[in-house]
């Protein structure tokens, strides 16, 4: 019996599997990928994760199907050990592999860069001078990290500082993330925001919440013994509820506001004094 054309048969199996599996994965898995659709930035990340998954599927299938195909068709025949044929380089396969993987990597690099800039940093910290800044009104909110608690300052509301983060829905927010001691990372999970909090650095991230919901705030940088305790819950509320809340905070925290330093993008990280 003549040997079948394994190359053609394998390519056909892989092509059919890819054409079936990739759309299925995009349609079924895509909508449930993290971080959800709590903000424009989070929705953008779901899209990006879906694109990456779709691009990874053919590669995954190539490896898995080849493994299964080899186990089935390239088994050691019964009746003795045979020396396999010598494997020599195949310039067609090598060239194809180099071109395809280079194209994949370059495509991802271009896609990532475009998405990052088109999404105003895509929810990540862009440093003190972001390359792209969204137009229109923005609500500035300062995120202040210290071992082991985040607090939040609203400079356009008298510089009031609050222990919890509350944001109005459908309003672009300009987060200024900084730290008073060591390196932390501000992670608002369902909003798709993650930005390093470094002492003496104003790390700016943009986010536009689109859904009335509660979200988790966590530190994403190992910052000491109680790093695991550095979490809280934030809330996205309607514009009117936000106005009520922030005015209530101004009253509640008036004694603290009196003793706070003037609003600044960073603060001196050293304590004022050291005791024994």
């Amino acid at each position: 019996m003549s040997e079948p054309n394994h190359g053609r048969r394998f390519a056909l199996i892989w092509l059919v599997a890819t054409l079936i599996a990739t759309p299925l994965v995009v349609v079924l898995l895509g909508p449930i990928l993290p971080p959800g659709n709590g903000s424009e930035q989070a929705s953008g990340k779901v899209t990006d994760n879906t694109v990456l998954l779709a691009m990874a599927m053919p590669v995954l299938l190539l490896v898995v199907i080849y493994l299964i195909y080899a186990v089935i068709f390239f088994r050691q025949p019964k009746g003795g050990v045979l020396e396999g044929p010598a494997v020599r380089g195949d310039s067609r396969i090598q060239t194809t592999w180099i071109i395809v993987t280079s194209l994949l990597v370059l495509t991802l690099a271009v896609y990532g860069t475009v998405r990052l800039e088109a999404g105003y940093g895509a929810g990540s910290g862009s440093g003190p001078s972001p390359v792209t800044v969204p137009s229109g009104p923005k609500l500035p909110v300062q995120v202040i990290a210290q071992q082991w608690k985040f607090t939040f300052r609203y400079p356009t509301y008298g510089g009031v500082e609050t222990p919890h983060l509350v944001l109005p829905v459908n309003q672009m927010v300009e987060l200024h993330v900084t730290s008073l001691d060591v390196i932390h990372s501000f992670w608002a999970i369902q909003l798709g925001v993650k930005a390093d909090a470094n002492p003496d650095v104003d790390n700016i991230a943009f986010v536009k919440p689109t859904k009335l919901e509660s979200f988790e705030v966590r530190c994403a940088e190992l910052c000491g013994i109680w790093h695991g305790a550095m979490f809280d819950y934030g809330h996205v509320v309607s514009a009117s509820a936000f106005n009520n809340w922030i005015h209530q905070q101004e009253v509640t925290f008036a004694p603290a506001t009196k003793v706070l330093p003037p609003y600044s993008t960073t603060y001196l990280p050293e304590p004022t004094r050291r005791g024994g």
Binding site: I144, Q146, Q147, W148, K149, T151, E161, P163, L180, D181, V182, G224, I225, W226, A229, D232, F253, P255, A256, K258, V259, L260, P261, P269, E270, P271, T272, R273, R274, G275, G276
Partner: protein
């Protein structure tokens, strides 16, 4: 005795010795955790309440902490004596009345926001007999804060010119200069809540947040709500 048996015995002895060393390390690590101290609880028709009496000392002293006698620390009163522990047990859905004798000098808050009393029953703390809602951030020596319960209480320091400073813990309010801070807060549902000091009082460590600030039993601990 054959060579194989000798080798077997040698390997067995090495494994047993290693096991003993690991066991010793694990047991000494486990026994280094402070013991939980229960608050004094009273139950009336209106509900449960408990009393927690603490003190803060700038220097633990060899009696309190032979390992780190120069570290700052909290102590808790239990059955009439001061105990070196920062794990406290209080009843769920109850009022906890806290008294803190503060013997340490000021360090200053890194974030002045913590200078405001938060999460207590009336939003104030009583400092040396006077109800206050905030202190001067520069005067803070320590804080007692349970972030998950929203409780933040700043503790002002003793003057650096005090005539009878507490040299080493434990100290008694009758003999050493101190500040007395009292406040009450409500506990919620059962659970383990982390509490800590927010003043960078770990002198001699980077950013003042090492040493006692990073070690259970000194400037942070757990509130076990049961």
């Amino acid at each position: 005795m054959s060579l194989f048996v000798k080798k077997l015995l040698g390997v067995g002895a090495a494994v047993a010795a290693l096991g003993l060393l690991i066991g010793f390390y694990v047991s000494s690590w486990a026994s280094s955790f402070p013991k939980s101290v229960a608050a004094t609880t009273t139950t009336t028709s209106t509900g449960a309440s408990s009393e927690l009496t603490l003190e803060t000392v700038g220097t633990s002293g060899p009696k309190v902490s032979p390992v780190h006698p120069d570290w700052v620390s909290y102590l808790v009163k239990s059955q009439g004596r001061w105990v070196h522990s920062t794990i406290y047990t209080v009843p769920a859905n109850s009022v906890v009345h806290v008294t803190i004798y503060q013997f340490d000098s000021p360090t200053g808050l890194r974030n002045p926001f913590m200078a405001q009393v938060q999460g207590t029953i009336d939003g104030t703390a009583n400092i040396d007999g006077k109800a206050v809602s905030a202190i001067d951030p520069e005067e803070a020596s320590h804080t007692f804060a349970v972030p998950e319960l929203g409780v933040f209480v700043p503790l002002p320091g003793v003057s650096e010119e005090a005539k009878h400073p507490c040299e080493a813990g434990p100290c008694e309010p009758s003999t050493s200069d101190h500040r007395t801070i009292t406040f009450s807060f409500r506990t919620g549902k059962k659970g383990r809540y982390h509490w800590q000091c927010f003043v960078p009082c770990g002198a001699g460590f980077i950013a003042g947040n090492g040493g006692a600030m990073q070690t259970l039993g000194y400037m942070d601990g757990y509130l076990d709500v049961v």
